[in-house]
């Protein structure tokens, strides 16, 4: 049932990448527990605009958990206190009346803060552009049913392909490693006959780009898997390691 709660928010504010950031404290009241977390942020921003203050900048777009744009670190957890969701799917019924909520941006060297809670995740695009694709041009491809694919392989590829590129895995990792993100793409494509052909080259190129961009190494803590809104399994990291080793051995 709908009820309303009052909250104290400690929000990270930072004017630009080079500026020094700080926490600011805000009060919001009469928040419906049926509203989403970002709707609560909208209400706060409306309040700030009405006080002629600059609203808090945060990334968001589809608000249905698929675009991967929203990205808040809420009370020490990427996407906040719920399982298998993005921040935009988090609802206020997960919070108690009178609670203090701390809201921060993703913290990782490879994701510099742009403003307030917005970070730059271009590094993910760079990793994909290094090899996260099948090298086919438009047109001149075989009929879609020419190569049957065993259903379990197709399903596992789909599990990996569900990654939304939000970066929660990096934010959750004490080393800021991007291994879960990279492994999801490598795994998806290596599982399919269309992508298998260049699997080795892909793994090598993506890993070396990841390293260059300042992401840390993987020490198998599994934090990424726990916080992933799409429940991407760390077993993909093992497949990535296998593909990578194969690539190194065949050099």
């Amino acid at each position: 049932m709908e009820k309303t709660i009052n909250l104290t928010l400690k929000v990270w504010r930072q004017n630009g990448p080079k500026e020094k950031g700080r926490f600011e404290t805000y009060q919001v009241s009469n928040i419906s527990t049926d509203s989403s977390f970002l709707e609560m942020m909208d209400i706060l921003n409306e309040q700030l605009v009405n006080e002629n203050k600059e609203p808090i900048a945060f990334d968001h777009d589809c608000r249905e958990g698929i675009c991967g744009m929203c990205s808040l670190y809420i009370n020490g957890r990427p996407h906040g206190p719920d399982q298998e969701i993005t921040t935009c799917q988090l609802h206020m019924r997960k919070f108690k009346d009178g609670e203090t909520i701390t809201i921060e941006p993703w913290r990782a060297a490879a994701f510099p803060v742009i403003k307030d809670l917005i970070v730059d995740r271009t590094a993910f695009d760079k990793i994909i552009s290094a090899g996260g694709y099948v090298s086919v041009n438009t047109g001149g491809v075989p009929d879609a049913n020419a190569i049957p694919i065993a259903r379990p392989a197709a399903e596992e590829a789909m599990d990996a392909a569900a990654c939304i590129g939000c970066g929660a895995c990096v934010a959750a990792c004490k080393n800021s490693s991007a291994m879960l993100f990279v492994s999801a793409k490598v795994s998806q494509l290596a599982l399919l006959p269309q992508g298998k052909i260049e699997a080795k080259r892909r793994a090598k190129a993506m890993i070396s780009t990841m390293d260059e961009l300042g992401f840390g190494g993987c020490t198998n803590t599994g934090a990424c898997e726990v916080e992933c809104p799409k429940s991407i399994s760390i077993s993909h990291i093992s497949r990535l390691n296998r593909e990578y080793l194969k690539a190194r051995f065949s050099e």
Binding site: D61, I66, R121, A144, A154
Partner: protein, 645 residues
């Protein structure tokens, strides 16, 4: 009128596209490198066009307002993509897909365009599979299909409930491969704020860097707008928060024709509105109608008891339920097209049978779970059920879902000819941004098909036909006066917005616009309401330009300024939608004029008077736009009253 030549190729329907491709002009590889193409937007249409044109050797510049091309709202499409493969051997063909799409669009689309769409649909599936898109498969390893509204065959390919995501990631990856090769230059967090016309041709754009606030000039031999639809005019819609109609409006103000602006699709299965603070509406895929049955209580007193919280839906006996779609449309049942399903829900709720807040109906999976088992339903719709539960805090395996129609897609858009070129030479529009192939109503699983058809398989041919005449045009410097003036006008507009310093937030005005749109330009429209809407929108426009408050400055990131600039454009689009809806004195597809309906309450077209595309031309700030007509000539199919009974 000359500006409205559709350039439909000669010949029999099935030969037109082949004939076109056989005779279009080509550009040789060494010249392609010298030609710059600007593509705005990275959704299915934009990303697939940018990747394909980059592969061909053109020098592509691709722009997106998001932080990455992968975020475009195509990503949120759930259900699937149509193709005429006939893999299930249920009698499908290119002609049938064409026919269903024309009929579904209530005979307000161009025959030749729709036929081409059906024709290239099969190539799209081949292309996506080759890219590694993990479509659903049967145990034998071949691709699976499901059925969708408005069709009696199973022709929809899908990747769980994330088909749009998988297709977009396929196109995004193809695009990033070109970025890596240097054929495409990517500009993220960059918004088109003006189109530059030189000697009557589109030659570039002005953008605003959303991080620094800096205005930038970009030259292109051709400009493609793949910027999506304008559904957010209604404030609440299933569109993403950033989806906007500004690029289309800039084109309109520069002389491009805006076609069928009133044609907006209201999707029947969305999570109902629950509060004033609501920021958007969430769609529940139409694929749910394959197994879900839609109903409301048959007795008004039951509906009242449910609304008062005294009765649960599961307590209503089978004989006291009204499965109104099955009752009214026995042939298609719960799978009638979207416009029909939406209106039927409104009819029941208006008559007092609604549940929840009174503006909701049930979508019930009980009989499907009894018939197929919970496992099967979970495998088919698990992620959608999870999404519903997270939002509503109710378990749809046990209690029926509550749904209500919401604005979802706009069939109207920038007018284009057969080559997807607007009436401004060198300016093209693709995907939802153009007025497209869906007529007055789009069938489910057709938007993904159209976006990718335009980007992968149509533009790469047609844009070449235009650029072949431009190989001697050298790259222009952006110091030319047209660029300088365009940038100056944009700068003045932003300064004007910031100087208002009023008392109302952008969102509060946007919500006011949205309510006017929903009440008078929504599911049921009439002359009186539309006239009222036009007056109200003019008042909202005045309120906006005198009383909006935008904190901050034009330097650096300013989210309120971005929203304000887009809202100013939504207000213009809203007025145009109302004007077009008032002019169209008939009901067709998603456009339902209450004065024009059959005794059973179905849409009643007026083919003798309105078998045309309404083409609006901008005449300046203080003048009314004028309407031209592109007559729709049906040579190959007969215009019939749609019948899903």
């Amino acid at each position: 009128m000359s500006i409205l030549n559709s350039k439909t190729p000669e010949g029999p329907l099935a030969q037109k596209w082949t004939n076109y491709k056989d005779h279009q002009k080509l550009v040789n590889p060494s010249n392609k490198r010298k030609l710059d193409v600007i593509i705005v937007g990275t959704g299915l249409a934009g990303a697939s066009a940018a990747a394909s044109l980059g592969e061909m050797g053109f020098n592509v510049k691709n722009f997106t307002i998001q932080d990455s091309p992968r975020r475009a709202h195509s990503i949120a499409a759930q259900g699937g993509i149509n193709a005429a493969k006939n893999y299930p051997n249920d009698g499908d063909s290119v002609y049938r897909l064409f026919y269903d799409t024309i009929k579904g669009g209530d005979y307000r689309a161009r025959e030749a365009n729709v036929y081409r769409l059906a024709e290239v649909s099969n190539e799209i599936i081949d292309q996506c599979v080759a890219q590694g898109v993990p479509f659903a498969r049967e145990y034998g390893g071949l691709l699976d299909n499901r059925s969708f509204g408005g069709a009696q065959v199973s022709r929809t390919f899908y990747a769980r409930g994330q088909t749009g995501q998988q297709l977009l990631l396929g196109a995004y990856q193809a695009l990033m491969r070109q970025v890596n090769k240097g054929t495409v230059q990517m500009y993220t967090r960059n918004e088109l704020v003006e189109i530059v016309i030189v000697d009557g041709k589109a030659r570039g754009i002005i953008t605003r860097d959303l991080v620094t606030g800096k205005l930038e000039r970009h030259f292109g031999h051709a400009v493609v707008l793949a910027t999506g639809g304008y559904g957010n005019t209604f404030f609440l819609s299933t569109n993403a928060m950033g989806s906007n109609g500004s690029a289309a409006l800039k084109a309109f103000h520069k002389g491009a024709i805006f076609a069928n602006p009133c044609m907006a699709q209201i999707h029947p299965t969305c999570i109902p509105v629950h509060g004033e603070f609501q920021s958007k509406l969430t769609l529940m895929s139409e694929s749910l109608r394959n197994d879900g049955r839609i109903w409301v209580p048959a007795k008004k007193e039951d509906a009242e008891a449910i609304r008062a919280g005294k009765l649960k839906p599961t307590e209503i006996a089978e004989e006291d339920r009204d499965y109104y779609l099955e009752r009214r449309y026995p042939a298609f049942g719960n799978l009638v097209p979207r416009d029909v399903a939406s209106r039927a829900a409104k009819e029941r709720c208006d008559a007092g049978f609604g549940v929840g807040t009174g503006l909701a109906v049930y979508l019930d999976f009980k009989s499907a779970i009894d018939r197929l088992g919970k496992d099967v339903i979970e495998a088919r719709y698990g992620n959608l059920f999870q999404m519903y539960e997270k939002i509503v805090d109710d378990n749809p395996y046990e209690t029926p879902m509550m749904i209500y129609p919401a604005i979802h897609y706009t069939m109207g858009g920038i007018w284009v000819d057969y080559e997807l070129q607007t009436n401004i030479p060198g300016l093209f529009a693709a995907g939802e941004a153009n007025f497209s192939d869906h007529g007055a109503n789009r069938l489910g699983a057709s938007a993904l098909m159209q976006g990718l058809a335009d980007g992968y398989f149509v533009l790469p041919y047609t844009i070449q036909n235009y650029l072949a005449d431009d190989i001697r045009t050298p790259r222009m410097t952006t110091e030319e006066k047209e660029f300088v003036e365009a940038e100056k006008a944009v700068k003045e507009r932003f300064e004007k917005l910031l100087s208002i310093k009023g008392n109302r937030s952008v969102d509060s005005i946007h919500k006011e616009l949205g309510l006017v749109m929903w009440d008078f330009v929504g599911m049921g429209r009439n002359a009186e309401g539309l006239k009222k809407a036009i007056t109200r929108i003019a008042e909202i426009k005045k309120e906006f330009w005198t009383n909006v408050r935008i904190p901050g400055s034009k330097e650096g990131m300013n989210i309120e300024l971005e929203k304000a600039s887009r809202l100013a454009d939504f207000i213009e689009i809203g007025a145009l939608m109302a004007r077009d809806a008032l002019n169209r004195e008939e009901s067709c597809g998603g456009h339902f004029r209450e004065e024009y309906q059959t005794p059973e309450g179905e849409a009643l077209r007026q083919d003798d008077k309105f078998a045309y595309v309404s083409c609006w031309e901008y005449k300046g700030e203080d003048a009314e736009p004028i309407m031209h007509k592109e007559d729709l000539v049906y040579e190959f199919v007969e215009m019939l009253q749609r019948n899903y009974k």
